[in-house]
C-alpha cells in the first residue's frame, strides 16, 4: 500500500500569470524587485545583481540583492518567505535546488509576486520566466568545439565541474558528451568528470589529481568560474603550462593573467551584468502586465533590445562571448 511515485503526476508546464497580457501597458513606477542569488558575496552574482539593480533604477523602481551566505536551498527558502512577507512585486532568483524552492515560490506566486529565474532555473511551474544565459546546448557544444580546436581534435580530455548536483553543469555536461559522439571527435576521449565543488582549493587539488592520474591528458574543460581559475592557476605554475589546454567559463578579470601568460588560449562567458539586467526588465514587464509569460510574447529590454519569450517560458540572453588575448582588455568584470 502507501503512496508511490507513479501516483504522483508531475506537472511540467510553466506557470502563466493567467491574466491576458497587454503589450502596450506602461512599466509601473516604484516596482519593488528583489534579486535572490544562490549565494551573496559571490563575485559572479555580485556583478549580475549589480546589473539588475541598475536596470531597476533605470525603470524607476527599487531593487535590492538579498540572500544566504551559504549556497543552500533551505536558506534560500527563508529568503523567499520574507520577500513574500515584504510584498515585493517580483523576485528574480537563481535557484540552488529547482525543486526545493518550488513550494515557496508557488506560494509567493499565489500571493501575486512574479517570479523570474536567472542563471539556474527552478521547477517550471514555480516561476513565470527563466532568463537563460545561454542555451545549454549551445554552451555544451561550443565548449567541446573550443577544446577540440585547441588540441587538434586528438587526445584525452577531462571536465572539472562544480558540485555533482549543480543542474546547469550537468545539462552542459550532457550536451558535451553528446557533442563528443560526433565522428570528427573520434580521436578525443573524455576520461573523467571531476568535481571541485566550486571550492577553490578542492578544484586546485582535483586538477592536480587529473594531471597525475591521466598523464596523457591534453585538455580540460571547466564550465565553472571557480574551477577554471583554480585549474589555470595550477597549470600556470606547473610543467603542464601551455601543453595541457584549458577552456570553459570564466570572468575576464579572473583569467586575464592566464590568458596573457599563455596558460589559456580562449574561454567564454556571457556578460553576467547583462543577465541581471535582462532579469530586471523581464520582471518589470511581467509585473506591469506587458507580458504574461506565454511563448512568443515580446518585451523591450533596454539596451539589450527586444526579447522574445521562447518555449517553457525561457528568454535567451544571447550567444556567449569568447575571450582571448586580443579582446580580453575590452572587458572589465
Amino acid at each position: 500500500g502507501g503512496t508511490t511515485k507513479s501516483d504522483v503526476k508531475a506537472s511540467g508546464a510553466p506557470a502563466s500569470s493567467g491574466a491576458k497580457a497587454n503589450p502596450n501597458a506602461p512599466i509601473k513606477k516604484g516596482l519593488k524587485i528583489a534579486f535572490l542569488p544562490k549565494q551573496i558575496n559571490n563575485p559572479y552574482f555580485t556583478i549580475a545583481d549589480k546589473g539588475g539593480t541598475d536596470a531597476v533604477k533605470e525603470l524607476g523602481g527599487t531593487g535590492k540583492e538579498v540572500g544566504p551566505s551559504d549556497a543552500s536551498a533551505s536558506s534560500q527558502v527563508s529568503y523567499i518567505n520574507t520577500l513574500m512577507q515584504q510584498q515585493q512585486d517580483a523576485i528574480v532568483i537563481s535557484a540552488n535546488d529547482p525543486n526545493a524552492v518550488a513550494p515557496s515560490l508557488k506560494q509567493a506566486m499565489g500571493q501575486g509576486v512574479k517570479v523570474v529565474t536567472y542563471d539556474s532555473d527552478a521547477a517550471p511551474d514555480a516561476r513565470n520566466l527563466f532568463i537563460n544565459q545561454a542555451s545549454a546546448e549551445d554552451l555544451g557544444r561550443t565548449e567541446v568545439q573550443q577544446i577540440a580546436k585547441q588540441i587538434g581534435n586528438k587526445g584525452e580530455i577531462a571536465i572539472l565541474s562544480a558540485t555533482p548536483n549543480a543542474t546547469n553543469q550537468n545539462t552542459w555536461i550532457k550536451f558535451m558528451k553528446d557533442e563528443l559522439t560526433k565522428p570528427q571527435y573520434s580521436g578525443m576521449k573524455l576520461v573523467k568528470v571531476a568535481y571541485g565543488n566550486d571550492d577553490d582549493q578542492k578544484s586546485f587539488t582535483e586538477t592536480q589529481g587529473l594531471l597525475k592520474s591521466y598523464p596523457n591528458l591534453k585538455g580540460i574543460i571547466s564550465p565553472t568560474t571557480v574551477g577554471i581559475a583554480a585549474a589555470a592557476r595550477y597549470l600556470s605554475s606547473s610543467k603542464y603550462k601551455g601543453k595541457v589546454k584549458l577552456t570553459g567559463l570564466g570572468t575576464p578579470n579572473q583569467m586575464r593573467k592566464f590568458v596573457k601568460d599563455g596558460t589559456v588560449d580562449a574561454f567564454e562567458l556571457w556578460n553576467p551584468a547583462d543577465l541581471g539586467y535582462l532579469g530586471a526588465y523581464a520582471a518589470a514587464a511581467i509585473s506591469s502586465g506587458q507580458i504574461s509569460g506565454a511563448a512568443g510574447e515580446k518585451f523591450k529590454a533596454g539596451k539589450l533590445g527586444e526579447k522574445t519569450i521562447g518555449k517553457n517560458g525561457e528568454v535567451l540572453l544571447g550567444p556567449p562571448t569568447v575571450f582571448n588575448k586580443d579582446n580580453i582588455d575590452n572587458f572589465n568584470f
Partner: protein
C-alpha cells in the same frame, strides 16, 4: 516554587533566554514591517523545524557529556535514502521507515564506537560526519529527486487550519514533551544528568552508563533521520547535500539554550527557547534587510553572551557583596580525566 528558587531560576541563563525571546519578539514586532503577521510566525516556526528536532536529542547527548556532530550528515543520508527508494518506486511510507532505520544504524555506529571502542565522541562524529555525507552521495549521487506526494509535502509546509501553527511544529512539540518528561522527570533523565557530571560515580551507583549513552546516540540518529524526512518533504527535494553544514547551527542552538558543553547541565525548555530565539532573530534581521553577515555575527555574539552573561553576573554579584575570592570557589569539580 519559593521566591528564592524563582529568583534563582530567573537569574539562570534559561530565564534570561526566555526573557530574550520575549524582548526580541516585542522589539521586532514594533520595528520590523510584516514581522507580527501570523503568516510570518508560521515561517519562523517552520524554518526551525529540523534544527529543533535535532536539538532535542542533541541536548540529551551533550548533557551526557558527549557530542554528536554527525546529525546533519545523518539528515542528508536519510534524505538520500528516501530519494533513492522513492525514485525506485517504493511507497513513500516505507521509505520513511527505512530512513528511520538507517538513522538508527548511523546512531548505533556512533554509539558503538564511543561506548564499546571507547573513542571520544568529538573525534568519532567528525569522522562519521564525513562518512554519512559520503554515503549519501554514493546512494543518490548527483541526482535531485523530487515529485513527492503533495499530501505529505503539504503537511510539512502547511499550518493547522485556522491557526498559524504549522503541523511540523506540532510534531516538534510532541517530541519535545516526550523527551522533556524523559529527561526531567524520569529515572533515566536523572541518570543522564548524573553520568554527564561524573560517569564513574554514576557507574558505581548502578547506572548503566554505556547502555544509556549508546541509546542516546541511537536516538540522536533516529531524530536526525526524522529531521531528514521533514526536510525532504518541506523542500520536496531529496539530495545528498541536504542540510550540509547544519551541525554547527544545531550545536549553537543547544548551547544558546544554556546546556553546558561539559555535560550535566541544561534543560530542554531552555534549548527550545534557544532555537526559537535563533529563528526570531534570523527572520527579523532578514525582514529588515540586514545582510547575512550581520546575521552570522549576531549568532556568534549571542552564543558567547549566553555563557558570558551568567559568568559576569556571578562576578558582579560577588564583587558587590564585597568578596573577591582569589580563585573562583568551584566546588571540587570532579577532576577525573575522561580519557583513559
Amino acid at each position: 516554587m519559593s521566591v528564592a528558587a524563582l529568583r534563582h531560576r530567573l537569574a539562570s541563563w534559561e530565564g534570561a533566554i526566555f526573557g530574550l525571546v520575549v524582548v526580541s519578539w516585542v522589539v521586532a514586532s514594533l520595528t520590523v514591517d510584516g514581522f507580527s503577521d501570523s503568516s510570518n510566525l508560521s515561517f519562523i516556526l517552520i524554518d526551525v523545524t529540523e534544527i529543533a528536532i535535532m536539538a532535542i536529542t542533541l541536548t540529551l547527548v551533550i548533557i551526557a557529556a558527549e557530542i554528536d556532530l554527525s546529525v546533519a550528515s545523518t539528515l542528508g543520508l536519510s534524505c538520500a535514502v528516501i530519494g533513492y527508494l522513492w525514485n525506485a518506486g517504493w511507497p513513500i511510507e516505507q521509505t520513511f521507515v527505512v530512513a528511520l532505520c538507517v538513522g538508527a544504524v548511523c546512531g548505533a555506529l556512533n554509539g558503538f564506537l564511543v561506548t564499546k571502542v571507547g573513542l571520544p565522541s568529538l573525534a568519532v562524529t567528525i569522522g562519521t560526519l564525513a562518512l554519512y555525507r559520503g554515503l549519501a552521495y554514493v546512494i543518490i549521487g548527483d541526482k535531485a529527486i523530487a515529485d513527492f506526494p503533495p499530501r505529505y509535502t503539504g503537511w510539512a509546509t502547511e499550518t493547522i487550519a485556522g491557526t498559524p501553527i504549522p503541523y511540523s511544529t506540532l510534531l516538534v512539540a510532541v517530541l519535545a514533551v516526550i523527551v522533556g518528561v524523559l529527561l526531567h522527570a524520569s529515572p533515566v533523565g536523572r541518570a543522564i544528568y548524573a553520568l554527564g557530571y561524573n560517569e564513574e560515580a554514576a557507574r558505581f551507583a548502578g547506572v548503566r552508563v554505556k547502555r544509556i549513552k549508546f541509546w542516546l546516540f541511537v536516538a540522536s540518529g533516529v531524530f536526525s533521520a526524522l529531521a531528514g524526512i521533514v526536510y525532504t518533504l518541506r523542500f520536496a527535494s531529496a539530495r545528498a547535500d541536504n542540510g550540509q553544514g547544519l551541525e554547527l547551527a544545531v550545536v549553537a542552538a543547544v548551547l544558546l539554550g544554556g546546556v553546558s558543553i561539559f555535560g550535566g547541565r541544561g534543560t530542554l525548555p531552555g534549548v527550545l527557547a534557544g532555537v526559537l530565539l535563533f529563528g526570531i532573530l534570523r527572520n527579523a534581521l532578514i525582514l529588515a534587510d540586514v545582510s547575512n553577515e550581520v546575521l552570522n555575527f549576531v549568532t556568534g555574539v549571542l552564543l558567547i553572551i549566553s555563557v558570558l552573561a551568567p559568568n559576569l553576573a556571578g562576578a558582579i554579584r560577588r564583587a558587590r557583596s564585597g568578596r573577591t575570592p582569589a580563585i573562583q570557589a568551584t566546588p571540587a569539580v570532579s577532576s577525573a580525566n575522561p580519557t583513559q
